[in-house]
Symmetry: C2
Subunit: 222 residues, 2 copies
DNA sequence: CAGGCAATGTTGACAGCGGCCACATTCCGT
DNA sequence: ACGGAATGTGGCCGCTGTCAACATTGCCTG
């Protein structure tokens, strides 16, 4: 199931797991994916990692701490989808491209919520960001693993808005605080579609709602 | 603690509680108020109602069912605050009044989330609306208690938008789907302020964010 | 008015969970 | 080589949700 292996590479292991922390987070991600934050359960995660239930406490203070690490990873997943979708936009003229990139970011946010509801709910399950999950554990490394430390949805959205300003499609005095409006709208729609009264909307009506909300964002920035 | 009494009015009771279902929902509301949906626990609720833990199953199918009833009541609480704040607006000229009423509805939504975070989280905790908690139990009553059967946040918001149209402040072709945009914005901001990265914003910045979001809603409707 | 049935509440049991404790094993620096 | 630090194990407790069996009461019917 889990792609996390111990350093020796094989499935067998000695007394020590070798990569337990990562394995536990990965197990937590699987649990969260289908069951949301409430499914991120210590004993299930440890079973999944093939380890005794108390081994968890060598890497996390308690269940909430593990959940926070999983939530952090869910946020990263969301950010990565946003970045990927944004970079896929291929328009040459700068102004429409900047607008399209902002729209793609918003769409990605909503699509992520709808295609990975468990992860989305977990990402915003009220857990504080996990302190020891942000920067890479080894600062002196030549960081060949990747430049982005920990992508954050807020930063991705901000970048898209900054681009709108650079291009001249958004007045600079409107820029200040624009994240609040745009982010609230896409996040709110996502939440309402998952857990709110919009939960039972038929598919075409959902598409209409998405278009309306994204359109309202664009109009409020214009 | 609980204001729910059995029919005989006294604290003592016989074998039957007399009003257990209501007492359990009230107990669930107390639990949800401080601890959110995860705190709505069968055994705690039954203890609170002074009843054996299995008595719950005579009124609710399982814990999720009780939680759904509590969530429904949380939604009602939210709606009532929205209505109260909306009706408090005292402006004579129709157009600014309609705008102010819509703004009051949005403010009420956000204020509710911030002043009763446990209830707000519970209201949107993914539980389906409880079937047997909607219409009043006694339809043949002369309904002196109130005309609104079960106030719904969506309906309150819709009414405010309808008023904008009647007054001429909102073009009729813009009315369609306007709930999605307005509701998403206030709901999203509320969620982000409670459980999202906006959680740690200082108070004045929070006020600024609220003003920005409400302003963006008004502008997107204009 | 009496009997009986349905509604309601109780007791007991079980498995799963989070969190402690003491103990076992292994890794690594000296 | 050795000894402490890091890591993993097993046992235990109280809590929870849920089931099954039983007890009590309200109320309808005859």
């Amino acid at each position: 199931m889990s792609q996390v292996e111990n350093p020796r590479g094989g499935a067998e292991r000695g007394y020590h797991h070798g990569n337990l922390r990562e394995a536990l987070v990965a197990a937590g991600m699987e649990l969260a994916r289908t069951g949301g934050p409430n499914a991120v359960v210590l004993r299930a995660a440890s079973r999944h990692a093939g380890v005794s239930h108390n081994a968890v406490y060598r890497h996390f203070a308690n269940q909430e701490d593990l959940l926070a690490a999983v939530a952090q990873r869910c946020l990263t997943q969301l950010s990565e989808l946003m970045i990927e979708r944004m970079e896929r936009i291929a328009i040459r003229r700068r102004v429409p491209r900047a607008s399209a990139r902002l729209g793609a970011v918003g769409r990605a946010y909503i699509d992520f919520a709808r295609s990975e509801p468990g992860w989305f709910r977990t990402a915003f399950s009220s857990a504080r960001p996990h302190p020891a999950d942000g920067p890479a554990p080894e600062p002196p490394t030549s960081d060949a693993t990747g430049a982005a430390p920990v992508p954050n949805p807020y930063d991705v959205l901000s970048a898209a808005l900054d681009e709108l300003v650079e291009v001249g499609a958004l007045a600079r005095e409107r820029r200040n605080g624009a994240e609040y409006a745009a982010w609230s709208a896409v996040h709110g729609l996502s939440s309402l579609l998952l857990d709110g009264p919009l939960r039972e909307l038929p598919e075409p009506e959902i598409e209409r709602a998405i278009d309306i909300v994204l359109g309202a964002i664009a109009r409020s920035l214009a």
